[in-house]
């Protein structure tokens, strides 16, 4: 059983527009397509896992109408829920995808509601209980106001104490504390900032360098994406370049693509595949997600088609690259 943690879930509202025009005093656009769904990185992983039949429990802090909508979406998808209720409304995140520029969306994300000490204590008690029944914990996304930025460090350590595999997918200031707890795999999210633990990520050499730095804390694998079609997997012994040969990816919606990647990895690890094969499949799932309007690619043949375009090759630590 997989446990996904989303400390700061959101209800995703995605709008596809042709253009945004100035009309009088307002910049206005009519969406020609919309999609709304439960969101937040861990929630997306749960939605993906449920779509491929992997039993999972979704945990997170929710409140209000949007919180109820998230719970309902997760249930309808087939995920088991164990959510912690808060006083305030769960946030909504908005993505605007302009025609022809779908790969470069306008995203408006709020910080999320303030979490009380009582709610956090309640969450931690539920988390401790869930650790008695799961084999893997996926910790994803940002941390809402009121929750210590180091929370992933604590949650990873609690899981490791029970010999439970942990996977972390987060960005910015949350990467360092999480990495220092030594999760099994960490995927720093570098969409907003191409910098991890103070190191600029400019090329393969810098990606491997920062990956090795994280490994020193006890992490077994570090996965860093470069663009939508390539990942570098760094481990103590070897590194792998996982690259899609496909040049023209049709981007329809990239919201949730990274989470489908993580979901694909977990799915394949549950099927007994090696980490590098799982990452290859994960990249295919992420790319398939980009090519459909919904966040989750429900047709396995779409993932398979992407998989055939992906190569996996070993890399040394010392890459000659400008």
């Amino acid at each position: 059983m997989i446990l996904t943690i989303t400390m700061n879930p959101a209800y995703d509202l995605i709008y596809w527009v042709k253009e945004i025009e100035q009309q009088g005093e307002t910049q206005l656009s009519r969406a020609y397509r919309t999609h709304s769904s439960a969101g937040g990185k861990g929630v997306n992983v749960s939605l993906y896992l449920s779509s491929v039949g992997i039993e999972n429990i979704a945990m997170g802090l929710i409140g209000g109408h949007t919180g109820r909508a998230i719970k309902r979406s997760l249930r309808e998808a087939g995920a088991t829920t164990n959510l912690t209720w808060i006083n305030d409304e769960t946030r909504s995140n908005v993505a605007i995808l302009r025609k022809g520029e779908e790969g470069n969306p306008i995203e408006v994300n709020s910080a999320g509601p303030e979490i009380s000490e009582r709610a956090l204590d309640q969450f931690l008690e539920q988390y401790e209980t869930m650790l008695h029944r799961v084999s893997c914990v996926v910790l994803s996304g940002s941390i809402p106001p009121g929750v210590p930025k180091e929370i992933y460090n604590k949650l990873v350590k609690m899981a490791k104490k029970r010999d439970i595999r942990t996977v972390v997918n987060t960005g910015g200031e949350y990467v360092g504390p999480a990495a220092k707890a030594g999760p099994f795999l960490i995927k720093p999210d570098i969409r907003e900032q191409k910098k991890v633990m103070g190191e600029e990520l400019t090329n393969s050499r810098s990606i491997i360098k920062v990956g090795k730095k994280i490994l020193d804390y006890g992490t077994e694998y570090v996965l860093l994406s470069h663009g939508l079609t390539g990942d570098i997997l760094v481990s103590k012994e070897k590194n792998w370049d996982i690259e899609a040969n496909r040049e023209e990816l049709v981007v329809r919606n990239r919201v949730g693509a990274g989470d489908c990647l993580v979901g694909g990895i977990i799915y394949q690890l549950e099927e007994g595949k090696s980490v590098q094969e799982a990452v290859k499949y994960g990249l295919a799932a992420g790319m398939a997600s980009v090519e459909v309007y919904e966040k989750i690619p429900r047709d396995a043949s779409l993932v398979q088609a992407q998989l055939e375009q992906i190569s996996l090759k070993e890399m040394g630590d010392d890459i000659n690259e400008s």
């Binding site: 109820r68 249930r75 088991t80 829920t81 164990n82 209720w85 401790e128």
Partner: protein
């Protein structure tokens, strides 16, 4: 059909050492009328509902309902709730809780719900851990 195919896969529960205040908060926010009580591993050890809270606050109320058609003083309930809000769930929960195994056939849980006039039955796995809940509406939905 098996119970696991019709149950609501939700693990909302309380621990026996939580306060009634925390329980009321949970029931209000989650819009549930009752929840299973679990131990630290998630094993079902009881069940507690709104009815148990009212019974705790006004032990004679349900008896009174048989002879009177209204609650004579709402402040009485409010005062009593204030007095017992810090009490632990374990003091008022039903310990001999009816549960059903997730591998049982749906007819079994239908029989349990009808025979015992239950709204909700906790579903447990082979280790007795909470796996979900079957509500009357789950059964009706599955039968349609």
């Amino acid at each position: 059909m098996k119970v696991k195919d019709i149950m609501t896969k939700d693990l909302t529960a309380v621990r026996a050492n939580q306060s009634l205040k925390a329980l009321i908060y949970l029931l209000e926010k989650s819009e549930l009328s009752g929840v299973p009580v679990v131990d630290q591993k998630g094993v079902v050890v009881g069940f507690i509902s709104e009815r148990d809270i009212i019974q705790a606050a006004l032990p004679n109320y349900f008896e009174m309902l048989r002879t009177a058609s209204y609650l004579p003083d709402i402040n009485q309930l409010s005062r009593r709730l204030e007095e017992i809000k810090g009490d632990h769930v374990e003091e008022y929960m039903v310990e001999e809780v009816i549960t059903v195994d997730e591998e049982e056939e749906d007819i079994h849980v239908a029989d349990l719900i009808i025979r015992n006039e239950l709204n909700r039955v906790p579903v447990v796995d082979e280790d007795g851990m909470l796996a979900g809940i079957v509500q009357r509406i789950d059964l009706l939905g599955a039968l349609l």
